[in-house]
């Protein structure tokens, strides 16, 4: 049976070059980069070389990169740290309705300590309207945080336009680029942002490493108080092997970005073109054109995502879903809900995230395996039954 991994938004493979780069740091290169001796020196050199590679991926100054333990920590640090440092100036933040939980829940935590949070919505394609951000900014707004691209829908946001608005209003702008970094070209100066989060494990690096870039001069409180590691902005001895892995992953991503994007988007586009033709009442979610090269996301009407995931897994295909049943909290995706997708339709969410290990034949295999699974689950579904009895395809008014 083929094994087709199509869940790269959950985790990517660690490339062999990355593993090779990490290994020496787990053996002889175990030193602490803060130590003043030879062991410390070589660890520090490895750390700083990785910092340069990560900075180069986003066109940043290496001195402005802070390594963290993951994308979630980078987002927590940015949102809580920048807002917290500006508390005397104001207590208002602007975020979007499709932010990752690490931004959204950081904002909720700030609310408990007296901040107000304005949440701008998105259109049916999951796109933020920059004018709504403009309207949401107030005199006392101390931070705008809007993600670069959403991993669930693939939609790439108009970051330059939002950055221009924030800049004109004098408000720092953070963007969560965890889903986008390494997949699409990003240059912090072209984007015009003030802070940007990224993570290693969505760009073929190891888990447990992330980075936050913060423009020089922007005040930010550390999330982890400790020593003067990372310029005093993040306490704790650095995860040198992981960071070196992220550095190599970032270097490879920068070097091969165009060819990777062309390869991934060819498979993405084939699936987006052929799947709706093979399965009726299946719709693309996210923006049809402005989307991440690896993301093909859909909603399948009348059935629940988990059943599809279980059957696909039996056939060797790994995907994910934003359905309530597949989340541990049993809550449906806030992203699909923000796009205006009705709750019962969002329950049939399917997210295919392509990666470098995929082959064009994988798309054919999905096209062969998925339609009978959907048919089988629909035959069990009382919702499909009602749809057919209400006139089925002759009557588009479902319910």
């Amino acid at each position: 049976m083929p094994e087709v991994y199509l869940d790269h938004y959950a985790a990517t493979q660690v490339l062999p070059e990355v593993v090779d780069a990490m290994q020496p740091l787990l053996r002889d290169g175990f030193g602490n980069p803060s130590s003043l001796h030879g062991w410390g020196d070589s660890a520090r050199e490895a750390l700083e070389a990785a910092r340069e590679k990560v900075a180069a991926l986003i066109g940043a100054n290496p001195a402005e990169i802070i390594f963290t333990s993951c994308g979630t920590e980078a987002n927590n640090t940015a949102v809580k740290g920048i807002a917290g440092a500006a508390k005397k100036k104001g207590n208002h933040l602007v975020i979007s309705a499709i932010e990752h939980f690490s931004v959204m829940h950081s904002a909720r935590t700030l609310e408990k300590s007296g901040f107000e949070v304005a949440t701008v919505g998105v259109d049916e394609y999951g796109m933020v309207n920059p004018e709504e951000v403009r309207a949401a900014i107030r005199q006392d707004t101390v931070l705008v945080s809007i993600m670069t691209a959403n991993g669930e829908t693939g939609t790439v946001q108009p970051i330059e336009e939002i950055a221009e608005i924030a800049k004109a209003k004098g408000v720092p702008f953070h963007t969560d680029a965890v889903a986008a970094a390494g997949s699409i070209p990003l240059d912090v100066n072209d984007l015009g942002v003030d802070a940007l989060s990224l993570a290693s494990d969505l760009m073929y690096g190891p888990k447990g490493v992330g980075a936050l870039w913060v423009r020089k001069g922007l005040r930010m409180m550390p999330l982890l108080d400790g020593g003067v590691q990372e310029g005093g902005r993040r306490g704790g001895t650095e995860n040198v092997p992981g960071i070196v892995g992220m550095g190599t992953a970032a270097e490879l991503a920068a070097e091969h970005m165009d060819e990777r994007a062309a390869y991934l988007s060819s498979m993405r586009d084939a699936l987006i073109e052929k799947l709706p033709a093979a399965i009726p009442h299946l719709n693309l979610t996210g923006h049809p054109a402005r989307r991440l090269p690896w993301n093909a996301s859909f909603v399948v009407e009348f059935i629940e995502g988990e059943g599809m995931l279980l059957f696909l897994n039996m056939q060797g295909i790994a995907v994910s879903s934003g359905s309530a049943c597949t989340s541990r909290a049993l809550k449906g995706s806030h992203v699909l809900s923000a796009c205006g997708i009705p709750a019962e339709v969002a329950r049939g969410s399917l997210l295919f995230s392509f990666g470098l290990d995929n082959k064009p034949e994988d798309v054919d295999y999905v096209l062969e395996v998925l339609p009978p699974i959907v048919q089988r689950l629909r035959e069990m579904s009382p919702l499909y039954d009602k749809f057919l009895k209400s006139g089925g395809d002759q009557n588009s008014d479902v319910q």
């Binding site: 629940e304 279980l310 897994n313 039996m314 049943c325 541990r328 049993l330 019962e344 035959e379 009382p382």
Partner: protein, 130 residues
């Protein structure tokens, strides 16, 4: 086959090969529970013989793997039982027969017994009216 730790083997068996899926055209009783927006949805159909026994039970379910397995198990447990016996089938009995369900699925997906009981009540109400 790739094993999934979330569900027991019995749950996976009933999910992959659900027993008694479908609809009974001339059902004696129909029970529907849940709603598709926030939970699972199940419809049970029952056929009752002269001795007040369930001689046929079928279902349709919208929901996760657990919801489908629960429906299948309930239909199997109920078939051949008297109405009074079938009314005694509880949520816990179903979960036990399935070799357990994940904690977070105990409430939202374990609605099969409720749907069966509703179908039986529907039959009894219709009988009273006639």
């Amino acid at each position: 086959m790739i094993k999934i730790a979330t569900y027991s083997e019995t749950v996976m068996d009933h999910f992959m090969n659900p027993r008694n899926v479908g609809e009974i055209e001339d059902a004696d009783g129909i029970g529907e529970v849940g709603n598709p927006v926030c939970g699972d949805m199940m419809t049970f159909y029952v056929k009752v013989d002269d001795e007040d026994r369930l001689n046929d039970v079928k279902f349709k379910t919208f929901g996760c793997g657990a919801a489908i397995a629960v429906s299948s198990m309930v239909s199997e447990m109920a078939k051949g039982k008297t109405l009074d016996e079938a009314m005694q089938i509880g949520r816990k009995d179903v979960a036990d027969q399935l070799g357990g369900l994940p904690d977070n699925k105990m409430h939202c997906s374990n609605l099969g017994a409720d749907a069966l009981h509703k179908a039986i009540e529907d039959y009894r109400n219709k009988k009273k009216e006639s």
